[in-house]
Symmetry: C2
Subunit: 663 residues, 2 copies
Amino acid sequence: MEGVDHLAHERDKAQFDVNDMKIVWAGSREAFEVSDRMARLVANDPAFRKDNRVHLTRKELFKNTLRKAAYAWKRIIELKLTEEEAGRLRFFVDEPAYTDLHWGMFVPFLKGQGTEEQLRKWLPLAYKMQIIGCYAQTELGHGSNVQGLETTATFDPKTDEFVIHSPTLTSSKWWPGGLGKASTHAVVFARLITNGRDYGVHGFIVQIRSLDDHSVLPGITIGDIGMKFGNGAYNTMDNGVMHFDHVRIPRDQLLMRFSQVTKEGKYVQSDVPRQLVYGTMVYVRKTIVIDASNALSRAVCIATRYSAVRRQFGSQDGVETQVINYKTQQSRLFPLLASAYAFRFVGEWLQWLYTDVTKRLATNDFSTLPEAHACTAGLKSITTAATADGIEECRKLCGGHGYLCSSGLPELFAVYVPACTYEGDNVVLLLQVARFLVKTVSQLVSWKKPVGTTAYMGRLQHLMESTCKVQKSEDWLNPSIVLEVFEARSARMSVECAKRLSKFTNQEEGFQELSPSLVEAAVAHCQLIIVSKFIEKLQGDIPGQGVKEQLQKLCSIYALYTLHKHLGDFLSTSTITPKQGSLADDQLRSLYSQVRPNAIALVDAFNYTDHYLGSILGRYDGNVYPNLYNEAWKDPMNESSVPDGYHEYIKPMLKQQLRNSRL
Amino acid sequence: MEGVDHLAHERDKAQFDVNDMKIVWAGSREAFEVSDRMARLVANDPAFRKDNRVHLTRKELFKNTLRKAAYAWKRIIELKLTEEEAGRLRFFVDEPAYTDLHWGMFVPFLKGQGTEEQLRKWLPLAYKMQIIGCYAQTELGHGSNVQGLETTATFDPKTDEFVIHSPTLTSSKWWPGGLGKASTHAVVFARLITNGRDYGVHGFIVQIRSLDDHSVLPGITIGDIGMKFGNGAYNTMDNGVMHFDHVRIPRDQLLMRFSQVTKEGKYVQSDVPRQLVYGTMVYVRKTIVIDASNALSRAVCIATRYSAVRRQFGSQDGVETQVINYKTQQSRLFPLLASAYAFRFVGEWLQWLYTDVTKRLATNDFSTLPEAHACTAGLKSITTAATADGIEECRKLCGGHGYLCSSGLPELFAVYVPACTYEGDNVVLLLQVARFLVKTVSQLVSWKKPVGTTAYMGRLQHLMESTCKVQKSEDWLNPSIVLEVFEARSARMSVECAKRLSKFTNQEEGFQELSPSLVEAAVAHCQLIIVSKFIEKLQGDIPGQGVKEQLQKLCSIYALYTLHKHLGDFLSTSTITPKQGSLADDQLRSLYSQVRPNAIALVDAFNYTDHYLGSILGRYDGNVYPNLYNEAWKDPMNESSVPDGYHEYIKPMLKQQLRNSRL
Ligand SMILES: Cc1cc2nc3c(=O)[nH]c(=O)nc-3n(C[C@H](O)[C@H](O)[C@H](O)COP(=O)(O)OP(=O)(O)OC[C@H]3O[C@@H](n4cnc5c(N)ncnc54)[C@H](O)[C@@H]3O)c2cc1C
Ligand SMILES: Cc1cc2nc3c(=O)[nH]c(=O)nc-3n(C[C@H](O)[C@H](O)[C@H](O)COP(=O)(O)OP(=O)(O)OC[C@H]3O[C@@H](n4cnc5c(N)ncnc54)[C@H](O)[C@@H]3O)c2cc1C
């Protein structure tokens, strides 16, 4: 960040204290400090350089990731980093690696499903990375439908072992990250069969590679599944394929917290409530929502800074207009900026929800689980979908230059999009939310009071009849009006679905038939949650000069932009009138103008280093053009001026001698 | 296509003659035959293999493209292919190359802007590829705003030459395809300066490389601008950067059809009407719209076939449900199928428009030009935007496997998206359409009758007052009802914008302020064009058993899906009632069910070879799993089971010896 700051005039305009906003974004002063320290540690260490990624072959790329992962672990040990610090360090290294699955799936899953004894055996190994674990659930033929998995684990009482087997080609494990090359162990999901009976899918700890020489163990076939979207992107990960030919593991490698098989082959359920598994799920999805805010804010930071650098048309006093001044540019960019903040705060709330669920589970209180489960599923779905689309929109907002890898945006998109698919396909998840909503509505007549994020359904009568009180555009700044409008829209859509469903004699058939509308009702419900958590956040104490004011504007932008985008919902449920919709648009335009002078500072508040951003267009100092220019020359294509292949393929053509040449 | 056809049962279900549909899709029997012949020629020639693209380094990839381009040219000569055949052959080679710019931009531009004499000199060279040309307009600092280009061409009467110069870093040419490595010549856009006066941007023919040894000529600096989105994708193209240091070219290399500079340095406009340049623009954009239907249909073909292969959940009789049977899957996929056909037919109509415009220009009739210009700009914008989004949606429709390069979808997306930016940034184009619409509305009071695609504005009175006559869901199948609804929505949105604009004292300020709404009005207008051209097509004779019926369904799907997606527009302009909107949804669901049995045949009608599709998921025979499995093993990562880097980066970690290792 040395040299001239080409965006200084933008930073001077800000009407709030950017340092205070940084703390709000990070969640707390402590979180900010840890994050800031780790970001700089990574950025200043040439071992973590990443700008050469797009030029490496797959094998070089992968080897380089192995190096970084080992080096990061070495630094974590040397610097005696806490778990939080280590997590942030890995985050800023910004390169998908087998360690993500080891720490993010293998360890939490062990913790969730292992018995005390199993944890005593496996956790220390995993914590010290004496073993490397991955999460092997998906198969070539089955992903979403976990119950349809084909791999079998048949108990053999003669040897006290399970026999893990892949009976078909489609039963090959397919996709697990870290499986292809790095992992020594896997949690393998397989149908537990004992005494000829199939007890459904269970998790098993299976050693897959030798701890001596890393060779694949007998009976197991493992490979990498090949290139994925983008260049570097997720190709640093060894997503793998695995086939078992009657592989034997000791009986005690079934994860036994919830059920066990005795020496004799008897299947026994433990008295630990199975609902506990939901805890892990809430944890994983909370992480995904926070990741969405990270990825979106990163893209928005790049597009915002570049939009202030880029000038096009409309010359005043000799210089052209910064494209960020165009209302169309603002109307595409600022809602994404607002969404990044909105997702941040809903992620923060999910953190709270996770703690709350964990506490309740400890006291066998399962009452909030279905609601927590539905709401995390829905939030995962809509935040990842909006983020994927938002990154691509940010790329387009950068015009032609956004298409260069040096903009950082193509790779960010390619590495991000699978979040829409893994941990639950987004549409499949929304269908789950829809089922929950329909059930909630149907139970309203009974004694069951809707809880948590569905509490508003308890005021159904009111919401069905209420009319929106907006008379002038400023009324749209009133949080309680906005909230009620979102509640009414969501409630009415759910009720409408329930009504139409009730006309079907076969409920399941009706659900299938109406599923597109049901998905829309689920989206409406989840958008309400995001709006309401943003509003809640603003009701609390938020220190810092001008900080709360800016967040209020962003909250309004998120809400009114969502309203505009889904105007059909609001009008068709008669929640608002066309006139009120048009007033919302007026207010939105006015908000864009108010945010404009603060835009650069609002993305500075993410506190991203240039290393982490990995984008010439998004450079902190705005010094885009000379750096774009210099970067181009580094491409291997520029090693020679006359290209490889000129003599064989260009010269004979120009000289009209193609006919005789061998191609 | 040998072996078992796993989709035969799907093909048997079709209720129309797929061979007849192939002809409709191709445009005519002749077009079909040429296309089919060329597709097979390419598919059966191993020289055009492309499945190894993702594993090549940039330099290898580029060299391989040079080889293919030369080989294709050789075949074109050997087989004495017609221009049409050659074009189709290059299309099926399916790899962006410098030849695209040579044939697609350099040659048409010469033709459009050169004098007879210039054409006599340059065209034969270009036609025989004795020179390779590119189109060098965009600069590092300027793209959309062509008038802002900085490169200068200053006339020096002493030597009768123009001096081409890049006065700043930002004036470097940046982006031109084919410039980086292949081209020997370029049409360079520069500010024509003579006698100290700046006459604005003009095109010049500049030789940039030696025809002897391909070295860059003195005073010129040329390089490749580096990696772009994706893996293979557009990285086969040598988009370039070029800087001039006072490079001299003969005076007669100014393209002089419209204006000349005399020996003495006098700037003289010719009497050729400048409007002729629009002809080229209509031509290029027509091509882009047809390309949109190609790219979208390709993605839809892959996703549709795979959706019929993929099974997940809902086991009946032991086998699970094909995911194509889920209504959510249909509601995401079938509108894209319908859009592919819709874009096809609007492209066909643009072909007609181009002929019409050309004829009129020949007789100095410029009356339809502004309208033709606006409508091609708008159609380019909305078809490319919908196609880019649609490809990514198709990828998501394939679940996890869509993320593999072997699905073909990631590369298709990466290679396609710049179409949203080049030949006019999509938002900038829509703003042009909006300006035209506002002008049309403001002239309605005068004697000027709106023509062509704006003719409906002539019935403004009626459209402002008309009410939608839909009473039951089948009414939505009536083309005249649908058409009027789209006309009314568009007219009302334009009028509303014009009304709000009129309240501003400064019209330009008003336009800027209201630009987001203006863009929406432009979109509405363009969607109307697409709907109306689809309906027009269906009014003509369409032979083939069941063919017209299927197209009618697709037309209704396109219209009703668009209506659903933009429901807010239709409701806020009171064009339809919420009840009517809901009836449209009912009809849409029913149409999905009707299309379902025909889905596979409808994508077969595109007549794509497996080579062209380049997708394991989209294979004609549906034999997905064994091929996915086998493909994975070909990845270089699988050359060894223990990965490169194990000894340095994995072993020391597992053995707890990291501390001592040098990383
Ligand atoms: C980058 C990446 C990393 C991954 N990492 C891992 C890992 O570490 N471990 C692991 O085990 N797995 C992993 N996976 C696999 C991932 O979990 C699955 O891809 C995911 O669960 C989606 O399942 P699927 O691929 O079977 O999609 P499918 O379910 O086949 O989806 C195909 C289409 O069918 C639709 N569909 C499916 N069911 C229904 C329904 N009931 N109703 C309506 N529509 C339906 C979907 O919406 C989608 O449009 C990874 C995947 C990716 C892409
Ligand atoms: C793959 C590829 C190939 C190309 N090939 C060639 C080639 O062969 N020859 C050549 O000369 N060029 C080529 N180009 C360049 C291309 O034509 C330009 O990138 C394109 O014209 C867009 O201009 P820009 O990049 O300056 O975008 P910008 O105009 O800088 O766009 C940035 C943002 O500003 C917005 N914006 C700009 N002006 C306005 C306005 N007035 N009102 C509201 N918003 C505005 C845009 O909507 C966009 O969001 C290529 C580009 C690509 C990506």
